[in-house]
């Protein structure tokens, strides 16, 4: 291990900008002659738009454009990563609270805000759907026009997609179960609440367009903008500065197409930075009701699992249905289950479009399935840890037929978490412990390219299309280059976030970047190493096969020569550089239910010790243990930051976070006052994060993805600890003091 390289924790690349305030996020970028954009929205969910009167707004000094649907190409263009169902502005009727109806561009923010208030939208409020039950009601109004869903047999319903997964014959084996446990758990609507609200800018750029966005997937955005404007990809330049937190909410295009049309209409740069309240209306996680029925033998062996997972997605699909299929698919968990039947539905509603959010559809069924395991443990009189260990898939076991076998020593992870929480040791009265596991299927496809340049002085530029939104991708890629090419990390620059400069990357999601882009960077470095070998062979008159290059040195006839001593004479008087290219590809597998097997699994075990205040229902977390199988922590400090961060984010939906809707579908707790997320005062008294590192992952040096694992099973672990402490069973999140207090009151007196 070198001081900079793999397994070390050098200072974050990009860290100085982050502590000095010089790091430029989208909203910090100043464009000359910019126009400020403000959205026009209605204070209700679903309404028929009768007319839009822009005359008063256009009178406001400084207003340059009021964009209405009528000013857009007709029919109004639609886009989206899965279904192309989201219009640039609401067409005919609004579908959710906060959907933009029009937008103003003006010389100042003040003028844009004033004019937006003066746009008169005559509208008629219509009945709308905000719950799973209402959406599935036979006479329910349809959220989406069936014409948008041609050839879709479900187009006459609010079910966007119904996914069926499983193996074995649940009905046939059910009779052989000694115990059947059934429970239904609900998971609330929660929002990402990145501290950086979403921001978008667009400007005419010669015969093309430039777009700045807080986007996680710049290349996907480039495709969307090119398609909607009819431009070649090469004429759409996406600038994607490091997002100030993403968590999935910034994966896909939202208002960039609108701002692009406004920039083209005015011939001026246009800038739209959402308020936090508007961001709440732009992204959320799907709420769910998940019913689990599972059969066990009296010794605890799982016989079958039958899961029905209903996800309430929003008015437009965004990537929500993919979270439903991926979360539903994995809901049998990391267990050996002979027969599994899963149905997972994405159900449309007149609510904020839900999208990817750390855990990608998995935390919801995991909440239900792990709670079911606890229920079974109690009914069977088996220790909850023991029940899990008994059914956990062992390394190499094909626990999910047709998919990647178990790729880690998961038992080791669970046993370590149990050890760290002191599982089985006596507790004072009023305290309890809970343990739960979480597993998430990693990326199923992937395509990442990287270019690495070794400059004449031995310094290095790495080009990688990943978005560094806090996970520390820049640092990890620099560490890989340092390890392979011998440059000190201070001599390495990592360039991201500009589609005109940086090669294609499919996306920054699914904890993929260390594995997929990391391998592309590694291969680009090894491409350079091959060129160095050829160079050394030429310089020293030896056969290339006798030369090795690794860890920054050239090995030649038993001698180790610094790379620079080969590079300088090799490049000669003109100088120049060596350029390496790397590609990491995981092609789709059309016959697989998800379109591809898991590149890796994220596996985590979370264990909690908690105390419940009987007077207030307040839960105090005395100890929170998270152990994640990461294969190899390339940067242990950053790995810990990701692991702790995901764990605390999991405490958000477990203990406090949820949207509150009123009867007309307005979110009543928009913004930071009424929607609480964990602060420094909401931490467990002790938070212990550990990694299991068996170097058995597909990423560089045996790494696996790891940024979501510790969020997956927080809720069931906390609920199990509450049950252990008090005896009350709660199946609805969040476990607010009021909810816990009511459950304590309702507790049957023995």
């Amino acid at each position: 291990m070198s001081a900079n390289g793999i397994g070390a924790s050098p200072a974050r690349v990009g860290g100085i900008g982050r502590v000095t305030g010089s790091q430029q996020y989208v909203a910090d970028i100043r464009l000359q002659e910019v126009l400020h954009v403000k959205l026009v929205t209605l204070d209700c969910a679903r309404a028929r738009i009768v007319s839009i009167d822009t005359s008063a707004a256009l009178q406001v000094p400084g207003v340059r454009l009021v964009m209405t649907p009528g000013e857009l190409p007709q029919p109004v263009p639609r886009f989206g990563p899965q279904f192309g169902d989201r219009p640039v502005l609401a067409v005919g009727e609004t579908k959710y609270h906060g959907e933009p109806v029009a937008a103003v561009a003006a010389e100042t923010k003040d003028a844009a805000e004033e004019a937006a208030r003066l746009v008169r939208v005559e509208h008629e409020e219509l009945p709308a759907i905000f719950s799973i039950a209402a959406a599935l009601y036979p006479e329910a109004v349809l959220v989406q026009d069936p014409a948008l869903r041609p050839d879709d047999p479900l187009a006459g319903t609010n079910v966007l997609r119904e996914h069926h997964f499983g193996w074995g014959d649940v009905d046939a084996v059910a009779a052989s179960a000694d115990l059947v446990v059934e429970n239904t758990c609900t998971f609330p609507m929660v929002t990402h609440f990145a501290i950086e609200p979403h921001g978008f800018m667009a400007a005419p750029d010669g015969d093309g367009i430039a777009v700045w966005s807080t986007i996680q997937h710049p290349n996907w955005l480039q495709k969307i903008i090119a398609g909607i404007l009819g431009l070649p990809l090469a004429k759409v330049r996406i600038f994607a500065p490091d997002p100030g937190g993403g968590f999935g909410g910034k994966q896909h295009a939202k208002l960039e197409p609108l701002v692009a049309f406004m920039a083209l209409a005015t011939g001026r740069p246009c800038r739209l930075v959402l308020t936090l309240d508007e961001t709440f209306q732009a992204v959320r996680r799907s709420s769910t009701e998940v019913r689990v029925r599972a059969g066990f033998r009296s010794d605890g062996t799982l016989v079958f699992r039958d899961v029905e997972a209903n996800y309430l997605v929003g008015a437009y699909a965004d990537i929500a249905d993919r979270t439903v299929s991926k979360g539903g698919y994995a809901s049998s968990g990391p267990y050996r289950v002979p027969a599994v039947r899963i149905v997972a539905r994405s159900i449309l509603s007149h609510t904020t479009p839900s999208t990817a959010f750390r855990g990608f559809g998995n935390p919801q069924p995991i909440w239900a399935v792990e709670s079911n395991m606890d229920e079974a443990a109690h009914a069977l009189g088996i220790d909850p840890l023991e029940l899990r260990l008994r059914n956990l898939a062992r390394r190499g076991e094909a626990f999910n037929p047709g998919d990647t076998p178990a790729d880690g020593d998961w038992e080791q992870t669970v046993r370590r978490a149990a050890e760290l929480i002191g599982w089985g040791s006596p507790l004072p009265p009023g305290r309890g412990r809970g343990i739960a596991v979480g597993m998430k299927s990693g990326p199923t496809t992937g395509l990442s390219y990287s270019t690495v340049r070794l400059l004449a002085d031995g310094s290095v530029i790495v080009y990688a299309g990943t978005s560094d939104m806090g996970q520390g991708a820049r640092t990890v890629f620099a560490q890989i280059a340092a390890q392979e090419l011998g440059a000190p990390i201070e001599w390495i620059t990592v360039v991201m976030g500009d589609t005109a400069v940086v090669p294609y990357d499919q996306q920054t999601s699914a904890s993929r970047s260390t594995v997929l882009m990391g391998n592309a960077v590694l291969r680009a470095c090894r491409d350079i190493q091959a060129k160095l070998r050829a160079m050394a062979a030429r310089l020293h008159g030896v056969d290339e096969a006798q030369i090795g290059v690794e860890r920054g040195v050239v090995c030649l006839r038993g001698r180790e020569i610094p790379i620079l001593d080969v590079l300088k004479p090799g490049l000669g008087r003109l100088g120049g550089e060596l350029i390496g290219n790397g590609e990491m590809r995981r092609d789709a597998e059309p016959d697989h239910p998800l379109g591809g097997r898991a590149a890796f699994y994220e596996f985590n075990c979370t264990a909690i010790e908690a105390e419940v205040d009987g007077e207030t229902g307040d839960i105090t977390l005395l100890r929170h243990v998270t152990v994640s199988d990461v294969g190899k922590a390339l940067n242990p400090l950053q790995a810990r930051g990701q692991d702790e961060g995901a764990a605390i984010q999991g405490l958000g939906h477990t203990l406090m976070e949820h949207y509150i809707y009123d009867e007309v579908g307005r979110i009543r707790n928009l913004g930071a006052i009424d929607y609480r997320i964990p602060t420094s005062l909401d931490l467990p008294l002790e938070l212990v994060s550990e990694t299991v590192e068996n170097e058995d992952g597909p990423g560089p040096y045996g790494s696996k993805g790891m940024s979501e694992g510790s969020l997956l099973s927080v809720a069931p672990a906390v609920a199990a600890a509450v049950r252990d402490a008090t005896g009350v069973v709660i199946r609805d999140l969040p476990l607010t003091p009021e909810r816990v207090w009511r459950a304590l009151l309702d507790r049957p007196t023995s």
Partner: protein, 158 residues
Amino acid sequence: MIDCVSIEVTVNGRLRAFAVAPHHTLLEVLRDDLELTGTKECCLVGECGSCTVSLDGRIVDSCLVLAVEADGGEVTTVEGLAQDGHLSLLQQAFLDKGAAQCGFCIPGQLMAARALLELSPHPTIAEVQDGLAGNLCRCAGYQQISEAVLAAAEAADR
């Protein structure tokens, strides 16, 4: 049009005189008029702490202070922490402890932590968590942030 008001504010040690709209906040003026974009904008209701700056020696949410209220005052922003190109002990500790993940909340965290250490040079971890409770971090790097503040306090003694 709204009449502007002339104000003078010392920002990061430099006297600045300019005209502001009376309804514009200190945050807007710092970011839009002075182009000091290190101070961040998020909730605009004084709950997230990302716009924290120092005004006349006490920390404020600059989204809740009108720029005219800062007339004649002294403001320090995150851009004023490093001196002559050298990071402050706090900034260095944030880097060393991995406290800055996405980084968006960090300017506010640094300003709050600086004020905390001025009041209490040797805080306990509970005092650090209490002192930074008004600064949200959605990356939830709270432990590493607290460790950085404690490390900076220790470094100041050396």
